[in-house]
Amino acid sequence: MSGTVILAIVLAVIVIAGAAALVMGVGAPRRGGGRDLRRRFGPEYDRLAAERGDPKAVELELTERVRDHGALTLRPLAKDERERYDRTWTGVQVRFVDDPRGAAQQADQVISGLLTAIGYPSEDRDRQLALASVDHAYALSDYRQARELVEHAKASSDGGKSGGDKSGAAGTSTDPTESLRQAILHYRVMFKDLLDRAASGSERVRVGR
């Protein structure tokens, strides 16, 4: 075939591909689209959907969150600050051996402190987490799981009235210490996610993260 024909075919393919991409919404992120929200908020979306039942309400709320998040002034953390947080976290892990529950509590506090340091308002805990979900929805699900595990551990040691593994963590026996250990591992996911993002300074969300 002649070069011209080949060239025409190639161009046609590109055009078609481009059109398809546009249709599928690749390239220019469309804020507010339901699918985008679902991708962005992942487990947080699912959680709210299970709670509220109405997908529209969920999308409304999440859209508001994104907007409110945009109004925040979030700041990256300097290297020595991050290193200090790292050392604190190591202390949490070390503390676990002596005081599992205290270590879990401290882990939660470190995360709160980190959220505040980054710039998420701290007056209302739930709101702080909601805003953080805009950038950290997936890690947040680990965080929530950690909190459940801590509750589970408390219930276990308060007389073993825990009805099974509602935590859902694989292999969690009623051993409260194991629950707390898992909790800290999940807390760490959130911690690392916050810290890593605070390093790059890119606190703005990427679609589909």
């Binding site: 190591t90 202390g91 070390v94 503390r95 051996v97 002596d98 591992l185």
Partner: protein, 213 residues
């Protein structure tokens, strides 16, 4: 080092003091003034045998039978992580068995050469395990303990190996000290009672360090 000690008590006093309960010793004004350094070279040179560096001689602290651990001594031996690993340089100081030979007779110039011979060994110069090694051990322990979260079983295995290593280091340190001490007297090195007495004290200090763990 010239932290010599006041030598105004009789020998018998000293011996009795060793057997006395602690309260008597703590009220002893002599002991209070121990940390002062009266650098009188003609005083009993045994003061040179006191472990100085890194050890604060606790005033008022006196070995009773020489082997009694101070009650204030944390049994943690440095392996209790608070912020990781408790660095207890002060722990050594509380051994409580620093023989503070305050009760010697008047200084005897005759023993000067002896004291030099023994003191030049600097046998009991601090903890059996050197501070740098101790510091390394602590760092290592800290990371073992921090690793428990990720893999409890493995951490316990590491801890077990770690203890073996520490024990090994300790045993080496003791053997080294013993060997040094031994060289002082074994090959015809000491005959005088005074020399032997000083050496005896060195041995006791070593025993204290071992038993106080």
């Amino acid at each position: 080092m010239s932290d010599t000690l006041p030598e105004s008590r009789e020998v018998t006093d000293e011996l009795e003091a060793r057997e006395e309960p602690r309260s008597e010793l703590e009220s002893d004004p002599e002991l209070e003034s121990e940390p002062e350094s009266e650098s009188e070279s003609e005083l009993e040179p045994k003061s040179e045998l006191e472990p100085k560096s890194g050890l604060e001689p606790k005033s008022g602290l006196e070995p009773k039978s020489g082997l009694e651990p101070k009650s204030g001594l944390e049994p943690k031996s440095g392996l209790e992580p608070k912020s990781g690993f408790e660095a207890e340089p002060g722990l050594e100081a509380e051994r409580g068995l620093e023989p503070e030979p305050e009760s010697e007779t008047e200084p005897e110039p005759v023993s000067s050469p002896v004291s030099e011979a023994v003191s030049s060994l600097e046998v009991d110069a601090g903890p059996v395990i050197a501070p740098e090694t101790t510091s390394d051990f602590r760092t290592r322990w800290s990371s073992i303990q921090a690793g428990f979260i990720d893999d409890p079983r493995h951490a316990v295995e590491d801890a077990d190996r770690f203890v073996a290593d520490v024990a090994q280091a300790f045993a080496s340190g003791v053997a080294s000290r013993r060997s040094t001490l031994n060289s002082v007297w074994a090959q015809d090195g000491q005959k005088e009672t005074e020399q032997l007495r000083l050496t005896m004290r060195q041995y006791r200090m070593l025993v204290d360090r071992i038993l106080l763990g």
